[in-house]
Symmetry: C2
Subunit: 488 residues, 2 copies
């Protein structure tokens, strides 16, 4: 089961063995288990080779029904690995009451893959991820897991791949750092990178397309249908890019320059993913740009750039190049498609017939953002009191200073409580989680819940989506709105 969790995960449930069945148990295939994933079909889960019908337990689940439902029709292990609280005898005793049978023994072998498929070697992913695209793999954690932890567990960190995941050998991996004109280039092994001072920071990454699905509702856009989950937070460790560039002989120059990154992922024509950031940011020790080789204390998972990726705090995910192969300093931005013909913002009036990509700057720092993760749109909440949870973040190291929440669509506001780590001035690289416990106004049958954040430059989110709509569906940071029903 360990591969299900990716390299960074720990299998929490490890002492389980199939006991010799007292009587001959019912035998089910995984396919049969999968078909039991709703109250109507009953809710089955597996642990090891045992099958359980937990329909009656769902509403009793201490973490809430929605969390258990994420595992409906499949194995519990990936979720128990995230939440180690489950690995206790009394939990297994509860579960044992619901046993209905066992898995067919031949159903545990991994399925064979077609080797002609360039994605055949992609890693196995966590089942909780909501997949927006399988090839290339793009997926986000469900909202109710996203803000369960300040640090997003590696297996459910949102994944944004542009190409198949390369399978790199850490022994032979080399990072090519092009030297300045007349200087010497570096060819760094992982061990070489470990020799630089190890720098650790907590950084939130957000895809430019986070919350794109809200723009699609206004008018069609080109891009993956991200919900609110194309954002996650990890504790990263690695060498500082400024140290590596200095070692290669680079220094800040008077003229504008750019550090270009190339990934080792490539399409069938050999074109690699690429992006760039301004040299001034790369060389600034205070900007803390990393060549990261650890994510939450583990080697990077393959989906997140093993063995080395760039982490550019405060900057759009697209510049955090994974599977990093090459670093160079150039007078111009990267000529990559993803730097020059994508990841830029335009006026709502611009369509594909008239768009001029050279007229807009590439997205670097992102604007202030927030979203509600609980309750979910369309959910029914109890009258009395409602708990609202979410995240808020801003680009460029700007700290979130306040989140306002409305229950009436924006007419009146309450200030949410900010959780999470205290933020360093000018280096607020990570999000704030927030929550609000608010009385449900008596007699209300529904609530239009809205959130908006303010950062320390006092930038705010725009009220509505349509006026920031753009043909690529990026930079979707209008007030987040969730409509819920109230039980009578």
């Amino acid at each position: 089961m360990g591969t299900l969790l990716g390299l960074g995960a720990v299998l929490a449930y490890h002492d389980h063995r199939c006991r010799a069945a007292e009587k001959s148990p019912h035998i089910y295939t995984r396919e049969e288990v999968r078909s039991h994933s709703s109250p109507e079909t009953r809710i089955w889960v597996t642990l090891g080779c045992e099958v359980f019908d937990v329909t009656e337990f769902v509403d009793l689940h201490p973490g809430g029904p929605s969390k258990l439902m994420l595992a409906a029709g499949g194995p519990l292990e990936p979720f128990w690995a995230l939440y180690a609280v489950h690995d206790q005898p009394h939990v297994r005793e509860i579960l044992a009451q619901y046993k209905v049978g066992e898995l067919s023994p031949e159903d545990t072998a991994p399925s064979t893959v077609k080797t002609s498929d360039p994605y055949a070697d992609d890693p196995v992913r966590h089942p909780a991820l909501k997949v927006n695209s399988q090839r290339p793999f793009n997926a986000e954690p469900p909202p109710e897991l996203l803000t369960e932890n300040y640090i997003t567990p590696n297996p459910i960190f949102f994944t944004r791949n542009h190409l198949p995941v390369p399978n790199l050998d850490p022994e032979t991996y080399r990072l090519h750092v092009v030297g300045p004109p007349g200087g010497q280039s570096l060819c760094l092994s992982l061990d070489d990178l470990y020799q630089f001072p190890k720098h650790e920071i907590t950084v939130t990454l957000q895809c430019a397309g986070n919350r794109r699905s809200e723009m699609t509702r206004i008018k069609e856009v080109k891009g993956l249908e991200w919900n609110t989950g194309a954002i996650s937070t990890a504790h990263w460790a690695g060498a500082r890019l400024c140290d590596v560039l200095a070692k290669a002989g680079h220094q800040l120059c008077g003229t504008e320059a750019h550090v270009c990154f190339e990934g080792l992922d490539s399409d069938p024509t050999g074109t690699a993913y690429g992006a760039s950031i301004p040299l001034a940011r790369a060389m600034d020790p205070e900007a803390e740009v990393l060549l990261a080789y650890e994510m939450n204390g583990q080697p990077l998972p393959r989906d997140h750039g093993f063995p080395v990726r760039v982490v550019v705090p405060g900057v759009v995910g697209a510049r955090h190049v994974k599977w990093l192969g090459k670093v160079s300093v150039e007078p111009e931005e990267s000529y990559s498609h993803w730097q020059r013909r994508d990841y830029k913002g335009f006026s709502p009036s611009v369509d594909w017939d008239i768009v001029d990509f050279d007229s807009a700057p590439s997205i670097q720092e992102l604007p202030v953002q927030s979203a509600i993760t609980e309750p979910k749109d369309g959910e029914t909440v109890q009258s009395g009191e409602v708990t609202i949870k979410g995240y808020a973040w801003s680009g460029g190291g700007r700290a979130v200073v306040r989140v306002d929440v409305s229950l009436d669509g924006g007419l009146t506001w309450q200030v949410a409580e900010l959780d999470g780590e205290e933020q360093r001035p000018r280096k607020a690289w990570a999000w704030r989680l927030w929550q609000l416990q608010a009385p449900v106004p008596a007699g209300k049958k529904e609530l239009n819940i809205v959130c908006k954040a303010v950062d320390d430059s006092y930038n705010v989110q725009p009220d509505t989506v349509a006026p920031i709509w753009n043909l690529r569906g990026v930079l979707s940071n209008a007030w987040h709105r969730v409509h819920v029903h109230v039980t009578p």
Copy 2:
């Protein structure tokens, strides 16, 4: 007349003399001239001691009727000083046709002032300024003058005073720079300041209360009723604060610290104006914080801090302390009222009964801003084509990358043309002026013109004012809206 223009202005009209009248001319008092300031009463102006009735000329004025109307009932000299194009024989010939008389000779003497008034010694101001408060003096240029020039002429630069204007002698002026613990303090004369490398930058200053009047329309706020003109741009020169602090022995420390400024303006109890900025900004040469002694090539006008003021590019006007007397480095922000009990942003839900000033950060960098300066609200525009002009700016050195303009209240948008100087990356300290020539849709009887700007972090302005309303009426940066009628 020269004093009318402030120290920085040049009197353009200088060879005018009253000719011996051919016949005995009509003699008028200034008071009488002042009463002729509208088409109904006829429009009079003066130049030197001559009085002109320019009612018939207003619509022929090449700069537009609204510009000439700014001088209605008063002298032309302050406006001719701003627009030197007037200082030509053929302009005076045109004017001569409209002569109706001369000013009473005893009416040129300056009026006497009450010496018990602490504001009695305030400088004489330019008549074009729209005064929001006389004591202390707070005034803004009218919108149609504001965007006439990329650099705002000194006499009409918005003025935000908190106290009477001190009258300082440049010979005896001293700036006290407190040294680090155990170190030596500096006591700098103007000549000492001139010894530091002279640094020159173009910087836009904006009051936190700019556009407050739009918040007042939602609900009462405490503060001056600024329209869109509490923002102006000048070319500043002075010593870099980082050089002066370094000379005093200060350096960046690991812990957070603040540079506190004290003005030489003070109230009757001796309390001076004060404010602070983070030490990290003060010490960063790239942040270009100035101790400015020149404004647009002239010594600072008295209203703008003569002889020395702070200029903190990208930061709210309140930190640009004028008539600077003292600089110190402290572990905490300035204890000044204006740092701790003012110039902070709050949720719309916070009123004076519950406000906790310690709960919000002091405003430093300002959010992205834009406004329409032409046409004016309520104006009637010609059918056919309309020209829309305005300004856009963002705090923190973030460049304005786009201004969207709508003629239909925000349903559809057009991209405006950005004028003004090219902006340096991360150091876009000055505004962009913009304009749009757009066809007026056929049959439209009115237009709801709206503008919104985007900065290079892709932050945008919020759609509406109410959700950013706050009890002090600061940070008013919603879309700017102007309603105009169209001639049939």
